[in-house]
Amino acid sequence: MHNILEIKNLSVEINKKRILNNINITIGQGQSYVMFGPNGSGKTTLLMALMGMPGYLVKKGRIIFENKDITKKAVDERARLGIGIGFQLPQEIRGVKLLDILKISAGKKPNQELGSDEKRLIKKFMLTEMLERDVNLDFSGGEKKRAEVLQLLFMKPKVMLLDEPDSGVDLESLKMIGEEIQRYVEKNNASALVITHQGHILEHMRAEKACVLLKNTIYCYNEPQKILESIRKKGYVGCLRCMKRRRQE
């Protein structure tokens, strides 16, 4: 198994404020990686920096994708290389229909038809009725999440960056989203970096590795289930205590 995404000593600033310090994560091909962390710990910032969003300034370190340094590449270049992102708060765009953006994600022109597999997925994601609507505009929380993940699946990325796919979504949608991500990853030997606050998505998809982001840096790496159990039992307060204890040692 070779590494698909390597994050090396990454430090990121927003508006001259340091948000992330010395992040190190390595994701192998076909691997799913989960990142836990309380609100405000910098999880979203990491995904934004990985995607190359302007305003998320890499001050130190490198991002390596398939052995190539992409730290300075633009958003669209990264997308075309095979990095797909599912945003936590997807952007509404007036006048751009969900169908338009699904076609774009699938690499199709506006006048090209979607394939039968794609049409089946749209139905499965319960978005047929939404196709002619402006993307994300007045969508419910669940519809937004489903639309976001569906776009990602259509993109066929080598790495999926998923920002809290399990927040603000009903249980039925969550199950479907989790299972479809799992199916995609398995079938395509793709990788994923999934941010989750409570870990609910893990009931429906498998992950090999996990880490906890706390106070702007990764403080522990472990098996996903172990971290999840600990967080469920003691909350992130437990993580903080553990961090303090380790520092004292």
């Binding site: 995607m51 969003m53 302007p54 633009a74 958003v75 669209d76 997308a79 075309r80 797909g84 992102i85 945003f87 997807p90 952007q91 765009i93 007036r94 006048g95 751009v96 229909k97 338009d100 953006i101 774009i104 994600s105 690499g107 402006d134 776009q151 993109m155």
Partner: protein, 382 residues
Amino acid sequence: MFKVHEKKKTGIKSLKELPGDIARTAEATGIEETERHRSGSFFQLDESAVFAKVISRFKGQMEIMDTKDALEKYDWLYDYYWKLVDRDKDKYTKKADEEFMGGYFLRILKGKKITVPIQSCMYISKQRFRQNVHNIIIAEPRSEVQIITGCTISEDIGAAEHIGISEFYVKKGANLTFTMIHNWNRETKVRPRSAALVEDNASFISNYVILKPVKDLQMYPVATCVGKNSVARFSNLLHAEKKSIMDVGSKVELLGDGSRAEVISRAIAKDNSKIIARGLLQSKNPTVKAHLECRGLLLGDKSAIHAIPELIATGEGVDMSHEAAVGKIAEKEILYLMSRGLTRDEATALIIRGFLDTRILHLPSALDNMIKGLTERVAEGL
């Protein structure tokens, strides 16, 4: 400076007799030379009505002719001529009255549903020419019609002026949809002067699309909803570039009980252009409902949009609303699309195409596709 030509051109028997460059230019405003998807056609070339025809399937259901001929034929037409637009309104209406060159008279007979669009073209082919046309459109009770009008000019000629008077009478229970496409050049001055009278249970839908440069355009059509449950809707798609100046507004006065109105505009200004997007809803009737919406998009930092939405409500319980928003393309929207693999330019074009949303026009799919094609060309040209 502008000349008036008295000499009339001879008529043609088919639009296919039009010179190729004229036919092609007209086609860009929706005029089909073949008339395949049209129920009737009218063509005004400079000062002359050269073609007016109803295709056989719709004969006896409607009439199309030169307004001049119609005024000779029907005495009663004087009850409609200059009755909605005041001939002394401004210097342009006065000119149109003094130098009257015809235009089209269109009449849909009682109860007739014209299921295929009628097309009309106002064409300027001569330099320094001032075209003064006067159109009268009457949709008789319970009739239905779709009209598409293209006003345009030969590409290689310079300055010209177009003054178009249009008076619409939408009788009881009639539905009239009027879609006007303008394609001018950078030196054309354009002054449409239009008004509509909408009776009981009738609807008047007016769409206006201008995507190419113009020197100076000013129009402010007025619809008066006199009838019970009458409806008026104005939708404008405006794209100004170079040094174009567009002052485009719509006014609806709601008098009849239960009448409704909607004024919607989408305005894009780039380069050194300026758009003034006006809208006015006026009523004192508490049973009416009306909404005005103006969205403007600025491309570049030298263009300007001035949105002037106005509501005049007199009396308690009048329900009218407006929203206006002017700004540039949100960077977040571009980045979202770039994250799906589009380049910055592709993302920008897609947003612009979406902004010039033809869905606001509520057109049947053939016309909608045609206008969508035009907006796509604009978006791609950016």
